[in-house]
Symmetry: C2
Subunit: 196 residues, 2 copies
């Protein structure tokens, strides 16, 4: 009945999307070098050679995965309308990524491969864009925008090392996690007016 898949046939583009989804999850753990095209294939329920053929190269596949993640994150920031509420809205936009940690991890794996010309360029674009958007949309200073992006990187790192899951082990870590994930300052104080 519904048990075994009838091996439906998909269009090339449908398959690409499906494989990209699977690849995002698999690359998230493992990273680029630590993940085989076969793992991706199995996750997508496709044969390994087909994965290679559709994307040409493992490297190309990773680039597409990274690009997809990067684009979506940037798009979220761009969706925030300028104005007084922009600061908290952008903070929330990034925090919402926690719901899908795979994206954060892929992002980090891409950053770490910054030596690659293509990936590096794309990575720099993402960082610069996020920085700039926070400045313009939220009317923030360079330093505020830097701290915003920095907090994002810290969030990535904390999730990569599974800090939230181990917060109970170390009270200090717990504090760091809490005040990063749920920024008590930033939006609150800053939006209210940080004339000091």
């Amino acid at each position: 009945m519904t048990s075994d898949a009838p091996a439906r046939r998909m269009t090339r583009d449908e398959r690409r999307e499906q494989i990209l989804d699977a690849a995002t999850a698999v690359f998230a753990r493992g990273g680029y070098a630590g993940t085989s095209t076969d793992q991706v294939a199995r996750a997508a329920q496709v044969s390994q050679p087909y994965v290679v053929r559709l994307f040409g190269t493992k490297e190309e596949l990773f680039r597409e995965v990274f690009d997809r993640v990067a684009s979506e994150i940037v798009a979220r920031f761009e969706a925030v309308p300028p104005g007084p509420g922009a600061k908290s809205a952008m903070g929330e936009a990034y925090t919402r990524l926690i719901a899908d940690p795979d994206q954060l991890r892929v992002l980090m794996h891409g950053f770490v491969l910054g030596s690659d010309p293509v990936l590096g360029t794309r990575a720099r674009e993402v960082l610069a864009r996020a920085f700039d958007l926070y400045r313009t949309r939220a009317g923030a200073s360079d330093e505020e925008a830097r701290d915003f992006v920095a907090r994002g990187m810290l969030l990535n790192t904390l999730f990569a090392v599974q800090a939230p899951a181990h917060a109970d082990d170390d009270p200090v870590l717990a504090v760091l996690v809490r005040c990063t994930v749920d920024p008590s300052d930033g939006p609150g104080r800053a939006a209210a007016g940080e004339a000091r």
Copy 2:
């Protein structure tokens, strides 16, 4: 004379240190999965099997490399005496790591492997310790300390994607790099007395 190495014999511990140095450089680019024990061996001018024998396992080797880097970074923070100058001193301590970007990159590669129980634990310790030291040594608030650690992660990322080298390509990126590498707020004012 001094031309070709006479293939001096070293003690086991000397060799270990030498290999760890070489491994730090090689792992910095490439990361764990993307680096072969043979690359490490060549960098250290030793045969590949010897590297494996000395450390038991590639994984174990990477752990030692990471541990070494982590320890040194923590040690730098711990060396800062408490007091009013502590904030800028700790900022400078981390910024000085820029002189040896290999350490930053190894650190990041370790973070990204946070799923590994051993590495993950060590990584969380480093982050929590840096956070705590900044609070206690500099008498900073949780939020300030978080921003300090976050800035460190951003610094790592910017170097990983070679942002400083490409600052000329994008003026926005240039601003981000400048105000991260040379923090004009926080420490800057106090220490260097940068009345621009």
